[in-house]
């Protein structure tokens, strides 16, 4: 089960809401340093799968392994500490904070984010903040959000909010990112920029990506493999061009492609 090349694996993961089985016996493996896509019609359980993996929801049964360790019983913040960070389909930004503060809150190992540290280690955290601000501004620049840094996150456009969510996730030095429709509502030019950035981050930092996305062309261009979900189950898995020919996938998702 815990093959070392697999950074994330689920084993017969199931989650239901009342009578609806949103995630039905899902077993997937994600290789380290890979970019994997997750597609499926609306309501097929993609986001629920992300929620269960990231600890926002508790699985009914099954296991989740991250870097060889079981994480299905851990609360959200410990899964984050392990290096698995997710973004949300509907951006969950802190609307009343500035864009920059939204970035900084996600940083790892902050000295000043405990009460004791805040009160008694003022110099240390202020110095740390200065460095983190630099890092945050670099990421914002990359995402074309630099000019918005002092604005409240609540005043951003929908697409910019998605970008900021991605930026916030990057701020946390993750090992693996679960991105829930990172390009929804983002203009085509920026979509390509996001995915090029993802490829670059994988190359430079060795990050692993697992991405829910509806733009199949984009997904097929940039991913190593794509997993297809339908009614809570994984119905196909493989490279983009293989899936296009898979009759099951055409039937439930692609239509007349």
């Amino acid at each position: 089960m815990c093959d070392l090349t697999q950074i994330l694996a689920t084993d017969n993961l199931t989650k239901s809401f009342g009578g609806l089985i949103a995630v039905d016996n899902v077993s997937i493996q994600i290789e380290e340093r890979s970019i994997s896509g997750l597609i499926g019609p609306n309501g097929s359980g993609k986001t629920t799968l992300f929620n269960v993996i990231s600890g926002a929801l508790k699985a009914d049964s099954g296991k989740v392994f991250f870097m060889g360790k079981r994480i299905d019983n851990l609360p959200c913040h410990l899964i984050y500490k392990a290096g698995l960070v997710r973004t949300f389909q509907v951006p969950r930004l802190f609307q009343k904070m500035t864009v920059l503060d939204n970035m900084l809150i996600a940083a790892r190992g902050l000295i000043g984010d405990s009460l004791i540290g805040t009160l008694f280690r003022g110099k240390a955290w202020k110095k740390q903040e200065e460095e983190l601000v630099k890092k945050a501004l670099e990421i914002l620049e990359m995402l074309d959000l630099y000019h918005q840094r002092k604005n409240l996150a609540g005043n951003l456009s929908g697409g910019q909010m998605k970008l900021l969510e991605l930026g916030r996730a990057l701020m946390s030095d993750p090992k693996m990112l679960l991105l829930d429709e990172p390009a929804a509502g983002v203009s085509p030019v920026v979509v390509d920029k996001i995915f090029e950035k993802i490829v670059e981050l994988r190359k430079n930092l060795g990050l692993t990506f697992f991405i829910i996305e509806h733009r199949i062309e984009t997904l097929f261009n940039y991913t190593d493999k794509v997993i297809v979900m339908y009614k809570g189950q994984v119905i196909a898995e493989g490279k983009g061009h293989e899936l296009v020919e898979n009759p099951k996938v055409i039937d439930v998702y692609l239509g007349e492609y």
Binding site: C76, R86, R92, L93, I105, V133
Partner: protein, 300 residues
């Protein structure tokens, strides 16, 4: 004319005491979004801890320190089960907690019983002039309030402050960013309770006697009104709200002696404060002052 001076000094001392309470509630509700309707419990615990110890002969600073520590611990203790609840249930639970503490104190004779504790030693030496004593008291409460303000100011401009504001806005998102939200809620609740404790300890030595019926649930709601008036998530507003409320309360108390009213003049204060709150809810629900902005980062 001395009377007016004393009256104003006494009023300002209460502004200090209630300013601290309102500041502590603002840290909990204004910044973190925790509903605490039992602020009075921690005020009471501070007053009683300090009152009991100092009447037993311990020095006043020991009484104060113990008041702060015990109320802080009480805050931590109640936060452990309570903070796992949804916000409205947290409100109910804290309200009930205040009443439970009051009823225990009322029924336990070794803790003073219904008559409470009398003859609490004051920080001012006996035999000095009343105005001088009030001035010393005012200086003392100003110092304590300034310390509380300094701590709050430090918190709201820090990474910790960022996290508690995050919890207020979206707890799941904050947890997904690696923050143990429970720990934050418990620590701010405990710190705020300690602040309420020091206010209580101060009040005890100032009036020199405390009794359970001074700590009715209404007191918690008075503090809520101060926060509503001054402004949510604004630490200066906490003191402004206390000033407005207390001025209003005392003003009504004086006014009723000069007005001929078709109602029981004692109710005038309640009618007027009710009206004031209504006006605020309709026209300025966020309170007089807006949320404190986070200090700008260097090099941005």
């Amino acid at each position: 004319m001395v009377n007016i001076v004393n009256f104003i000094l006494d009023m300002l001392i209460y502004v200090g005491i209630f300013g601290i309470l309102s500041l502590s509630l603002n840290l909990e509700y204004g910044f973190t979004g925790l509903w605490n309707f039992g602020k009075v419990a921690f005020y009471m615990i501070g007053a009683y801890t300090s009152g009991i110890l100092t009447t037993l002969g311990y020095p006043i600073y020991v009484g104060f320190a113990a008041g702060v520590v015990i109320s802080g611990l009480a805050g931590l203790l109640i936060s452990l089960p309570a903070l796992r609840l949804r916000e409205d249930y947290l409100g109910i639970l804290t309200l009930v907690f205040g009443e439970i503490i009051r009823l225990i104190l009322k029924n336990e004779y070794w803790l003073g019983g219904p008559l409470g504790i009398r003859g609490i030693p004051s920080i001012t030496p006996s035999g000095i002039e009343y105005t001088t004593a009030l001035t010393i008291q005012l200086a003392a409460i100003t110092t304590i309030a300034a310390i509380c303000y300094f701590i709050a100011n430090r918190i709201i401009h820090s990474p910790y402050g960022r996290v508690i504001r995050g919890i207020r806005e979206d707890e799941l998102a904050t947890a997904s960013l690696g923050k143990n939200t429970f720990r934050y809620k418990a620590s701010i609740f405990s710190l705020s309770s300690a602040m309420a404790g020091v206010a209580g300890a101060f009040m005890g030595q100032y009036v020199t006697s405390i009794a359970p019926d001074q700590f009715m649930p209404f007191l918690s709601f008075t503090v809520w009104m101060m926060v509503m008036l001054g402004g949510f998530a604004n630490i200066e507003g906490a003191f402004l709200g206390a000033l407005i409320y207390i001025t209003f309360e005392r003003g009504a108390r004086i006014a009723k002696d000069y007005l001929l009213l078709p109602i029981d003049p004692n109710n005038l204060m309640f009618i007027l404060t009710g009206l004031l709150i209504l006006i605020f809810v309709f026209f300025r629900p966020q309170g007089l002052l807006r949320e404190n902005k986070v200090r700008e980062h260097k090099g941005v």
